[in-house]
């Protein structure tokens, strides 16, 4: 349900109707920005939004995205450390 994809607002196309041009991987489509108008419409240019059926439904929070990725990275590092320990253990056992 609910296909939504990240896109970047590149221009405002119709201020009265709250429309802007969004770009997704080089593909442009006009979207309605009413739901993300927490600031003057012009200030949306450059922002990343989540697009669903022609509407920008949410602003994407860059800091939160970074936090999620950090958590994933930490998991990865912890796992690598565990793997290395297990590897060391195996090597020791192999030598014994």
């Amino acid at each position: 349900m609910c296909l939504g994809i990240p896109g970047r607002i590149v221009a405002i196309t119709d201020e009265a109707r709250q429309m802007a041009m969004a770009e997704v991987s080089g593909v442009r489509r006009e979207v309605n920005v009413a739901c993300v108008l927490d600031r003057p419409i012009g200030a949306l240019v450059g922002e990343w939004v989540l697009i669903h059926v022609g509407f920008a439904m949410a602003l994407i929070d860059e800091d939160e995205a970074a936090r999620t990725l950090d958590a994933l990275r930490d998991l990865g590092e912890a796992q690598e450390a565990l793997d290395a320990m297990a590897e060391g253990q195996r090597a020791l056992e192999g030598r014994a």
Binding site: M1, C35, G54, A65
Partner: protein, 380 residues
């Protein structure tokens, strides 16, 4: 693609998968006695199969594919009503592509189109509005379909039509809500679920609090998740961690998009245009109290049900589901798609019998298309 590629890193995935395996082992989960996690949203089902996550996770974690595909749960009677509206000569019927192939009792929209109805696929309700502006002599009807993610878009389109006085635009409203069917599933005595992956894009509209009852009243963990593979895996891990710790909480893995309290503009638009129906029929699940929305009388001029005298406006009706179809049991997690006697026999994507085979988001169709079951069988 920013905000997508980073969340598809196979290296990070290995670490999460290893952690999932560790926790699953601690929980004593096995293939015979798995932890059942329902991903409510059809988009999650699609991503699980698209990225092959079902075969990457520990065998003691079993995904149960939930009712969150609006196309799949649309009852036949509503498809019939679409066809009825679309076949009126003055009507241009506009719809998302997903709904074109859903079978009604007599025909699908695709078949009605072949027989001459003016049915057009659009990407957005905004495109339907544009058609209404350009065709003042025709009645443009938009097939409003979907959960809370999609509901604001039709609400805003109706508000815009009202502002412009576009008298030839209306919406055939089939919007439904997520929390009510989840409650119905949890009340089902056969329910086997241990936790939930919550729908990320519904939640960006409604926030995370509407799920509080799942943790508070039913003691089940739920983690609102994004749609990239790492989002899903991390959320599975978060659900397992909760189970291991004996916690039942609403957690938000998708904080980059989902605010705790949702989107105020969307919620205001929904409240302004829509109200709850006393009940709404779901394919495979039956009537569920307060699970559907209708257009408020203030906007009756834009309500296709009122305008054309169909649907609930025309009185109660029920169309029974096809004989032998086990969609209900699949959707409540009681059986896997492959355990349905009709799967691959009387019901295939070519000739779908039940709703879950219709849309590519449906559990059965996804099983078929991506070989959830067949691949496993072949490998064994």
């Amino acid at each position: 693609m920013k905000y997508a590629t980073e969340f598809r890193d196979p290296k990070a995935a290995r670490a999460v998968l290893a952690r999932i395996a560790q926790v699953a082992d601690v929980l004593g989960a096995t293939r015979a006695k798995p932890v059942h996690i329902m991903e409510i949203c059809g988009g999650h089902t699609h991503a699980i199969f698209r990225f092959g996550l079902d075969k990457l996770v520990h065998e003691g974690v079993e995904f149960i594919h939930g009712p969150g595909c609006p196309v799949c749960v649309l009852p036949m009677s509503r498809v019939d009503e679409c066809v009825q509206i679309a076949e009126r000569p003055e009507v241009i019927f506009t719809t998302f592509g997903d709904a074109m192939r859903v079978p009604g009792t007599r025909k699908s929209l695709l078949q009605a189109k072949a027989e001459g109805a003016d049915i057009r696929m659009v990407y957005s309700p905004l495109d339907a509005l544009q058609l209404a502006r350009r065709n003042p002599g025709r009645e443009v009807v938009f097939f409003g379909l979907g959960f809370e993610t999609t509901t604001p878009s039709t609400a805003l389109a109706i508000q815009q039509a009202a502002r412009e006085g576009l008298a030839n635009f209306s919406v055939f409203c089939n919007h439904i809500t997520v929390p009510e069917p989840i409650k119905a599933l949890l009340d089902d005595p056969h329910m086997v679920l241990d936790g939930f992956i919550g729908p990320g894009h519904v939640s960006m509209v409604i926030g995370t609090h509407p799920y509080d009852f799942i943790a508070r009243d039913y003691g089940k963990p739920i983690v609102v998740a994004g749609f990239e593979p790492l989002d899903l895996l991390q959320s599975v891990l978060m659900v397992l961690d909760q189970i291991r710790d004996g916690r039942a909480e609403v957690e938000n893995q998708y904080a980059r998009v989902v605010p705790e309290h949702g989107n105020p503009v969307s919620l205001a638009a929904i409240a302004d245009v829509y109200e709850r129906r006393p009940s709404f029929e779901w394919r495979g699940l039956g009537e569920i109290d307060a699970s559907g929305l209708r257009i408020r009388s203030a906007y009756a001029a834009f309500d296709a049900e009122e305008k054309f005298g169909v649907g609930y406006a025309a009185g109660p009706r029920h169309v029974p589901e096809p004989e032998g179809c086990a969609c209900g049991a699949v959707m409540t997690g009681r059986i896997k798609p492959t355990a349905c006697p009709q799967f691959g026999r009387g019901c295939t994507p070519d000739m779908p019998l039940g709703a879950l085979m219709v849309s590519s988001e449906g559990a059965c169709s996804a099983y078929w298309q991506y070989g959830g079951a067949r691949a496993t069988e072949a490998a064994e």
